[in-house]
Subunit: 405 residues, 2 copies
Amino acid sequence: MRIKEVKGGVCAPEGFKAGGIHCGIRKNKAKKDLALIVSEVRAAAAGVYTTNLVKGAPVVVTKNNIADGYAQAIICNSGNANTCNSDGMEIAEKMCSLVKGVAGISEKDVIVASTGVIGQKLDVTPIEEGMTELYNSLGDNSDSAAEAIMTTDTVKKSVAVEFRLGLKMCRIGAIAKGVGMVCPNMATNLIFITTDVAISPEMLQLALSEDVKTSFNMVSVDGDQSTNDTCCILANGLAENDLIDDKSSDFKTFCKALNYVTVKLSRMIAKDGEGATKLIECRVVGADKKNTAKVVARTVIKSSLVKAAMFGADANWGRVLCAIGYAGVNVDVNAIDVTFSSKKGDLPVCKGGYGIDFSEEKAKEILSEDEVIIDINLNSGSYKATAWGCDLTYDYVKINGDYRT
Amino acid sequence: MRIKEVKGGVCAPEGFKAGGIHCGIRKNKAKKDLALIVSEVRAAAAGVYTTNLVKGAPVVVTKNNIADGYAQAIICNSGNANTCNSDGMEIAEKMCSLVKGVAGISEKDVIVASTGVIGQKLDVTPIEEGMTELYNSLGDNSDSAAEAIMTTDTVKKSVAVEFRLGLKMCRIGAIAKGVGMVCPNMATNLIFITTDVAISPEMLQLALSEDVKTSFNMVSVDGDQSTNDTCCILANGLAENDLIDDKSSDFKTFCKALNYVTVKLSRMIAKDGEGATKLIECRVVGADKKNTAKVVARTVIKSSLVKAAMFGADANWGRVLCAIGYAGVNVDVNAIDVTFSSKKGDLPVCKGGYGIDFSEEKAKEILSEDEVIIDINLNSGSYKATAWGCDLTYDYVKINGDYRT
């Protein structure tokens, strides 16, 4: 199959419009803070959410609204997470009603999300007053929506692809916000995906639930799991492919295209992590079990000491071994090989659990790139996994240590 | 019972001598790098060690040597962890033999420890050449030993107490090194405890194993678990108390005195964490189970976002709630109360899972102290736990991101 990147973000698939405005939740008028994505027709819908016990009210409302497998619009504000507020549910439901008011879509077909500081009441007035402008902004404006959901993200995150199912050209588009905060607050991922593929809600949920295991669930910036993480997908069927309602070859093709989009976004989110100067990809191979590979990859990516070493372009492989050792999975320490690499080349640093001689100069050159790979071979089986993270920098501390203002 | 702090560190108990020298493992001649502690007589011995699968060779040798329940000396170098080296075991055993050579103690009665960079061979020559000087340095020199085991510690860590068992005055002394690195490397705790109490090896091991659950195992600086963590205790019996060989009231008294020492050291280690500007104590009460209390306390202390907020003296209680929510234990979010406090007063910030109004000015004043307490009441039972950590600062990144030199 051929997957081709195209422009348009969430508006690339047939029948989707998007828009974003500044409505006034944020004080900075130059920064958009409210986004809307609408499908021409009701769409199959699926979602995955934070497993944090402390959940934002919008997460609860969205789960309820797409429980029947369908939705037609997504509304999202930045600047306030609407979490840990006694009136949170009321406000989140009100946001859905406001979409109904302007778009004539049932409030039960609206996905709602919020991101920003938690524990401060979200005043719905600016949203209410901005709804007409927001609705009028709808068009081929994926970038406006992508901008409106950003918090401390430094770049907009958007991907779209096209691929064939039978004779039909299909598309998947997506926008995301990565780790950041407004006032400042916790790392929060929001990912909204659109597609014109015809697929049943059940298969859509299955595709998404499986997908995140190798994409968004393999990303760590600081190991703090948000209260508002939400990844939703709308599939409106306008590509007119044969409906996917079982594990057909079309389903597999769809899953591959979806994974292309989500892995690309995962890398973008990691690379734009708070304060990050570089993307770190950890690829584990040779594991005895799938779980071993995943846990090792994630543990290495999350290690503060590995992250700080990467910031300093320091080939301190002992910290990688140390992290593998405390990952809590069974590995044979004396079988582990570690190699650092980047565009500048490969550098084996550890063989069979012991250090090997290497050029510190070469190491510095390789690790100074803005995308660095840590390859780990556990030499104990055939399972593998990849995780993405970033370095730990002064700016991470600055962003997260500064007083909420 | 009355526990009184006394001077003398590991030399406070009867029959222990200590010393420390610069032998040349480190380039900086002003920094001691080799320590020795010796008991006049063979002592009951117990230890707890890192659970990292990647273990320093000295950890393996020490475990073997005290498997019979007895030891008489402790040798420890800083500057190199002797870990992930193909000749590690040989070198660690050689260090024990060197003690035998100067002190006439069986090499099987020597506890050996190393701390510093991992994956670089430890040249035993400077140790060998320094042994006579080291042996001659033995005396009432606990501080010299404490200094010799320091890596990036900024203060020596030493505590000693006296207390009565029956009519006999007994003592416990200890030195520790906290989180730091040499070149730089991973957070490593080494703790050496001496006592003149007469106690069987079995009861000594029981006391220590129970003790660390509420002391050293409740400390986190960066969540990276070392390959060389070692906490050992020698009990030489010279206080001539009635031998403790069961769970008598004397045993309980001994455990209380031990816990006084270890909690005090835990706080010192946390406060002197790499780059730290303040000690953070997280006290959890009202938990449904002991494990819930422990996991919540440790998760909050480990959160990068909580740590960064504390650095900024930012009363961002949402991050505390967020960390509780992803701790992986069952809590009722809507029952949680959170209060920040320090010498400057108390500040309730969250009640029943929702934010409450507070003075940001007062918050800043309280959180700007060098010892800050986060009190969490889960309001779901009667179990409690306390954990210690520190803030996340620019200096943590600096210390750990700088190139190994």
